[in-house]
Point group: C2
Chain length 350, copies 2
Amino acid sequence: MEQTIRKNTVKKKRLGAQPAASTVTEVAKRAGVSVSTVSRILNGTARVSDDKRRSVERAIEDLNFKPNVLAQSLKSGQSMTIGVITQAVESPFFNELLKGIEEGLQGSGYASLMASGHWNSQSEIERIRLLIARRVDGIILLTGNLNNEQILDLASQTPIVAVGHTAHSDNAASIFIDSRMGGYLATKHLISLGHRRIAHIQGPQEQHDASNRLHGYKMALEEAGIAFDEDLLAQGDFIEPGGLMAMNRLLDKGVSFSAVFCANDQTAYGARLALYRRGIRVPEDMSLIGFDDLPMSSYTTPPLTTIRQPVYEVGQTAAKRLLRLIRGEGAESVNLNVELVIRESTRRLG
Amino acid sequence: MEQTIRKNTVKKKRLGAQPAASTVTEVAKRAGVSVSTVSRILNGTARVSDDKRRSVERAIEDLNFKPNVLAQSLKSGQSMTIGVITQAVESPFFNELLKGIEEGLQGSGYASLMASGHWNSQSEIERIRLLIARRVDGIILLTGNLNNEQILDLASQTPIVAVGHTAHSDNAASIFIDSRMGGYLATKHLISLGHRRIAHIQGPQEQHDASNRLHGYKMALEEAGIAFDEDLLAQGDFIEPGGLMAMNRLLDKGVSFSAVFCANDQTAYGARLALYRRGIRVPEDMSLIGFDDLPMSSYTTPPLTTIRQPVYEVGQTAAKRLLRLIRGEGAESVNLNVELVIRESTRRLG
DNA sequence: AAACGTAATGAAAACGTTTTCAAACACAGC
DNA sequence: GCTGTGTTTGAAAACGTTTTCATTACGTTT
């Protein structure tokens, strides 16, 4: 894999190349004023005579002085940094959230420190502790396996906005998305198209979102008077390979069904491939519906019918609320609705 | 969209909930020793008698003391943070890189600050300056539109590892991927399958990767004695919508062709949809090849033949090299090779 | 001319660490 | 009992800011 290698000369003194960063003291000296005066000019925190201002400004220019944020943070107790706990950096779902957060933080002066929890509550807590140790001013928690008690406990140390949770206190706000309703809507859509034998590929059982979607699926069946059939349930893992294998298992079982509700879009992509491999056409022979409305779902063949979560907006909202929490303005928790988007992977039976 | 809202009581004193973080001074006081002793125990930097050690450890336990990283950073001049400049958080390509970086940073004690350049050299420089102002210990630059001179200039202020560039100095290393070779391999593959009329949907012209891939395409054509035909070139934008529209334009032109080399996988996804819409089958009627080998490309219908870049490994390598650069150990620049992965979207003509 | 208010400025303390330096102490050897 | 050696320890300085407090200078009022 390696083609060409150019080797650097090893440097002994690592700071050799960098021009030593200048300090407020040097600026003061060069301008012939006290450090207090420099600071006042920097922050506009008091008036200072025009001639001093000018000479200080020149000194700043000359030395290319930039205040040391670390020192400012130490003094002020604010790091101007927030922590973000994601579960899987490589997942399109989380990235859409991150994009929203970035946008929500725009122009606030805050930067974000990223860490992955990998769907593991132990590792989540560990990462959060790490972020707190770094003195982040607040944390955005993107789903995960923590329970409300744990979240509120952590929130006693730093403000938290938790996406996909319902924890709520003075120092914690949540943004909850109604997965159960989503599962219900997805299944109901299939039923309304005349399907009666509807399979479900579920997500990891320990995740709330997964069990809520399953619950919604059952609700819709029950409402339509269709008995829940254990044989039509297959276990997925929220990513493509699981969807592929689950669909294969379903097909191999020999039970008949005409539609599948997949716990998320990535699962549906996997299931789609399994069908393609067997020459089962979508939507002619089998209807397929996902959950999330990832950007890619508009571009699958055929484009995927799915349940849309306002992912981007959620990220944005989370960031905004965290800023409010940090400013001590309190924040509301909010439940967001989910919406059916009909594309071309579902079709009337018959 | 908003369903339920619970409002927080507005807090006046924002720190109300947090137990005031304890300091090394308090620990010292409680343990009846000096702060120096506490520090020594914390860092194992000198021996201290067993009884003092025990009482200090108890005090730390009692007060739940965690050293303030900000203060440590100020003292040491190391923020234990690196900056990462990505171009688009929401892109699967960049996320694969980020995943690699996260993995490469594992256990190093470094955390990463994220910022997006949005393919805009001005905004890239601005973000980098911001990161430098925050005293990051180094920066990983993921592609982008900066030229080598600009990169080397920035590298005089902080160590930089630049992915997709060739800048190299004592304080900068690059990881370069041979896009031209990739374009060549992709086109050659199509030629070897008997295709002669091969279209290309190119990426944004100002990006090196895009023009290199185009260059490789032309090289392969020339080698095979096929004249380059301007009519078979269409402009894309590295994302799906551009691929869709470009393919439509190509088709509408009425020129005939049997294969398309797309500048990246996302472009291929878009092109695929355009073909689907017109009932043109892949690969029976049209061969399609992409570039990147995104995770999704194994799951499209049909799975996409593409040029694989070792994206994840690149991220990992970038992180590792940056750590070396930071430690002043120097670092090598490296060119990585690219590889053809044949799936089911290309087929022998005839 | 004395008294006073106001505006501009600087010295010093503070944020929470780490590290240098010197002092205190213990113990052995003479 | 004195010197020397080595180990533990604490005081204080330093990192680069911001902010409090006191001082100076100046113009105004009586």
